[in-house]
């Protein structure tokens, strides 16, 4: 082929090592480096790395991941023994932060840089240069039309300039060379650069960003400050001192569930009414799924909710050793919830309770106490009691009680069990104390995420999309028109085209140009009927 479209040269075809000695494959260090770089930045390597990236992303979707489901990971390791440990050591539970996953995408992006830089240079030159000289033998191009007209060659070429709308046109000897669609390559480069940008913005966003969680009961509040959260995850460059110290108070949490039909109990709306205040403003807002609250560029999301029964516990001396709401963790869609009440200051070394809260209680011989509807219809708690208090180092979660080293309180030879409705209380055996279910309120789980990194990431993504669409939908093609005086005094016109990836469109375009040259609108009506070369 005499002419090619410059873009997207493929070096994959010839990754042969440059031989420093003609006699054998002896390569100097430099030679090997050059060979390695050339191989890495070839289209074929890029393709293989892309496919490899798709493959190494799979295990993280099959195995539970620490970042999203730490409990499942622990269970998985326990269930699989040695295999579990091995998978853990290989990074199977942190796939997306594992070295081998990083290796693949870093290699891919290195290849991308090595590919984009030279292509940009080539394209820059192409942008500033004129369409190349007309090939001598136009009939060897993929699309070629030839016909004769009455007008002299100069006039044909003159009208050809008008017909070649949107092309960059350069005149050569008795011919025009035209090219259009430079923007396709520009867009393709933009797309690939935007991908790099996307990687960078995501990385930076993770370095400086944070995500924190806080359980707040109705009437309670939290302050956006490091150390105020139940849990916080942040990047290496995060500085807790940078947080905007706004405060959010949960006034009331409204819920609504499906009340009938086969989807009975399915959630229909959650709505946390909050009051917020920062240094110079205050306001109220409704935080709901898909409706975060935004304060000072930080977003507050409602990510969960549940019940917080309010207890009052007295000890053997009659002193109130616990009073207040205690969130119970929902574990099914009907809000059967698990929780614990801890009163370490109770006389005699402390008291503790653990058990269920059921918003709509039912007791079943098979499943035991459970809830049949998520809203408060028949709220009840079922509690066992313990003497002693948790080992301080182990007392991690507010939701669960670590009963190691605690003594279960028995009633006769049965474990003592309290079943309380709202306003009811129960006495522990031997005058150890009482526990009362005073009320039931709700809690909300708020997630707080800083959004500073999101703007640049979104911008990079939009650039990538724009570049991609330009790259895929624009057409790049070259067209040549040659007009030579024929022997019979008429003019032989040749139109030929070269395009990439769009054979049908190229034919249409060349046909359009040929047709318009054959029947120029401005020419005298009788002379321009084409000859026998005319197509039917």
């Amino acid at each position: 082929m005499t002419a090619t479209l410059g873009a997207a040269t493929d070096s994959a075809g010839a990754p042969t090592p440059p031989s420093s000695a003609p006699s054998g494959p002896v390569l100097g260090v430099g030679g090997w480096l050059r060979w390695g770089w050339r191989t890495l930045t070839s289209m074929r390597t890029a393709l293989l790395l892309l496919l490899l990236l798709a493959v190494v992303a799979v295990p993280g979707s099959v195995l539970p991941q620490r970042s999203s489901a730490p409990d499942e990971v622990a269970t998985w390791i326990e269930d699989h023994g040695r295999l579990g440990e091995l998978v853990d050591r290989l990074g199977g539970f942190n796939v997306y932060s594992s070295p081998w996953f990083a290796a693949v995408y870093l290699l891919l992006f290195t290849s991308l840089i090595g590919c984009v830089v030279p292509r940009t240079r080539v394209h820059w030159n192409a942008l500033r240069s004129q369409p190349p000289a007309t090939p001598r033998r136009l009939e060897r191009l993929p699309v070629h039309r030839s016909f004769t007209v009455e007008q002299p060659p100069e006039q044909v070429l003159q009208s050809a300039r008008g017909v070649l709308r949107g092309f960059r046109v350069q005149a050569y000897d008795r011919s025009l060379s035209a090219e259009k669609g430079y923007a396709k390559e520009s867009a393709n480069l933009l797309f690939h650069v935007a991908l790099l940008l996307l990687l960078v913005t995501v990385a930076v966003g993770q370095l400086v960003g944070y995500t924190a969680n806080k359980v707040v009961v109705e009437g309670g509040s939290f302050v956006n400050a490091d150390g105020q959260y139940d849990s916080i995850r942040h990047g290496a460059r995060f500085d807790g001192a940078d947080l905007d110290p706004f405060k959010v108070t949960l006034d009331r949490l409204g819920v609504r569930y499906q009340e009938d039909g086969p989807r009975l109990g399915e959630p229909r709306s959650f709505d946390a009414r909050v009051t917020w205040n920062d240094e110079d403003a205050t306001g109220t807002a409704s935080v709901a799924p898909n409706h975060p609250l935004e304060v000072d560029g930080t977003k507050v999301f409602l990510t969960g909710n549940g019940y917080a029964p309010v207890f009052r516990v007295t000890d053997s001396t009659g002193a109130v050793v616990y009073e207040g709401p205690q969130p119970f963790l929902p574990r099914d869609s009907n809000m059967t919830s698990l929780g614990a009440v801890k009163a370490p200051s109770a006389a005699g070394g402390g008291l503790a309770f653990s058990g269920f809260f059921l918003p709509t209680a039912a007791v079943d011989d098979v499943v035991g106490p459970h809830s049949t509807y998520p809203d408060l219809v028949e709220p009840k708690v079922f509690l066992n009691a313990y003497r002693g208090s948790e080992d301080g180092r182990k007392a991690g979660s507010v939701f669960t009680l670590d009963t190691d080293g605690l003594e279960r309180i028995e009633d006769g030879d049965q474990p003592w069990l309290a079943q309380l409705g709202v306003g009811e209380s129960a006495e522990l055996p031997d005058g150890l104390g009482t526990i009362e279910l005073v009320d039931v309120i709700r809690f909300a789980n708020f997630q707080v995420s800083d959004t500073t990194g999101n703007g640049p990431t979104l911008a990079a993504a939009v650039l990538a999309l724009v570049g991609l669409m330009g790259s895929l939908l624009l057409r790049r093609r070259r067209v040549w028109v040659r007009a030579t005086a024929g022997e019979d005094g008429r003019t032989v016109v040749e139109v030929a085209g070269l395009g990439k990836g769009d054979a049908d469109g190229l034919v249409t375009e060349v046909d359009r140009i040929a047709d318009e040259l054959r029947t120029p609108a401005a020419s005298p009506p009788d002379t321009d009927r084409p000859t026998g070369q005319e197509r039917t």
Partner: protein, 325 residues
């Protein structure tokens, strides 16, 4: 009869008509007879100049356009082509019923009708048929219906038997206009990728058999044209899918406070995207264009399907409420 019941009845009606369409195209295959080329039958005028385009990069000169294509050869037996055209007519009728079913479902639910797997299945299978019919106006790909129509029938069958749920209000996590945008883009791309997969598979088959081989006596378009169409469909669909993934990320940021969490559904959407990017690359890579790029396109389609079936059934994740099963 409620609008929801009407929607379901329309689904059944569409299934019945699709079944007729399928039967007709099977009859076409069974009675198959030589036809000049599909192209000549459908577009006598343009086919001639188009056929002049050889594989890109190869050299072909056309001094003068060829003579007008010969009229279709006289039938040497029952007119199979007529059965094929009847199949297309049935497919159009069925698609209209199918569209009405989707619209009624939306009216019954009072929202965009793609809030659970049942609705996704009926909307997605409609998109597949619609893309096929639209493409059929431009390209002579009638035989692709032999795959697309049974596929739609199968999906609808699964939808009414396994996935059906009454139209209900959505769970709070799905109550967002991003559902409309993100899932609509996903549905369109799923439908269009279906046609892309059929064309890529046909191209692969064509490469193995050579351009002369007929399928049950019916001439298929030559490999080079199948490749061009498959590429066009993928080139149209890939940006839509890219947009779907991005819209999903924006929605996730608005709903969960992070735009990307490597949830199985997100991960498989990305895997699908990467594999299709691989397909586009492969077509520009020496030695990969051909059956290898076809295979990559089909792998992309497999990843796409896995995301809607496998991920919902086996992998769960926070997208689970969407499954609705």
């Amino acid at each position: 009869m409620s609008v929801a019941e009407l929607s379901l009845d329309l689904v059944y009606a569409a299934m019945a008509v699709y079944a007729l369409a399928m039967l007709c195209s099977f009859v076409e295959l069974a009675l198959g007879r030589p036809v000049p080329t599909e192209a000549a039958v459908r577009e006598p005028a343009r086919a001639a100049s188009r056929r002049a385009v050889a594989a890109e990069g190869s050299v072909l000169t056309e001094e003068r356009p060829p003579a007008p294509p010969a009229a279709p050869a006289p039938a040497s037996g029952p007119d199979a082509g007529r059965w094929g055209r009847i199949a297309v007519s049935f497919t159009i009728v069925a698609a209209l019923l199918h569209l009405a079913a989707v619209v009624c479902r939306g009216i019954a639910a009072g929202r965009a009708p793609w809030g659970n797997m049942y609705e996704f299945a009926i909307a997605g299978s409609f998109a597949a048929v619609a893309v096929f019919l639209v493409a059929l106006r431009r390209w002579p790909i009638r035989l692709a219906g032999v795959v697309v129509v049974p596929f739609a029938l199968l999906v609808l069958g699964l939808a009414v038997t396994v996935l059906y749920t009454e139209p209900e209000e959505l769970v709070p996590s799905l109550q967002s206009y991003w559902l409309v945008i993100h899932v609509a883009a996903a549905i369109i791309s799923t439908g269009a990728f279906t046609l892309g997969a059929v064309l890529s598979a046909a191209h692969w088959w064509r490469l193995r058999t050579g351009d002369e081989k007929r399928l049950a006596g019916i001439a298929l378009p030559p490999a080079q044209r199948l490749d061009t169409w498959a590429y066009r469909v993928h080139v149209f669909t890939f940006p839509v899918w890219t947009f779907a993934v991005m819209a999903g990320a924006i929605w996730a940021e608005n709903a969960w406070g992070r735009y990307w969490g490597w949830d199985p559904k997100e991960t498989w959407a990305l895997i699908t995207w990467i594999v299709y990017a691989g397909y586009l690359h492969a077509r520009a890579t020496t030695g990969w264009r051909g059956w290898k790029s076809d295979a990559i396109a089909l792998a992309g389609y497999a990843a796409l399907l896995f995301n809607f079936i496998g991920v919902n059934v086996w992998l769960g994740g926070i997208h689970a409420p969407y499954s609705g099963v």
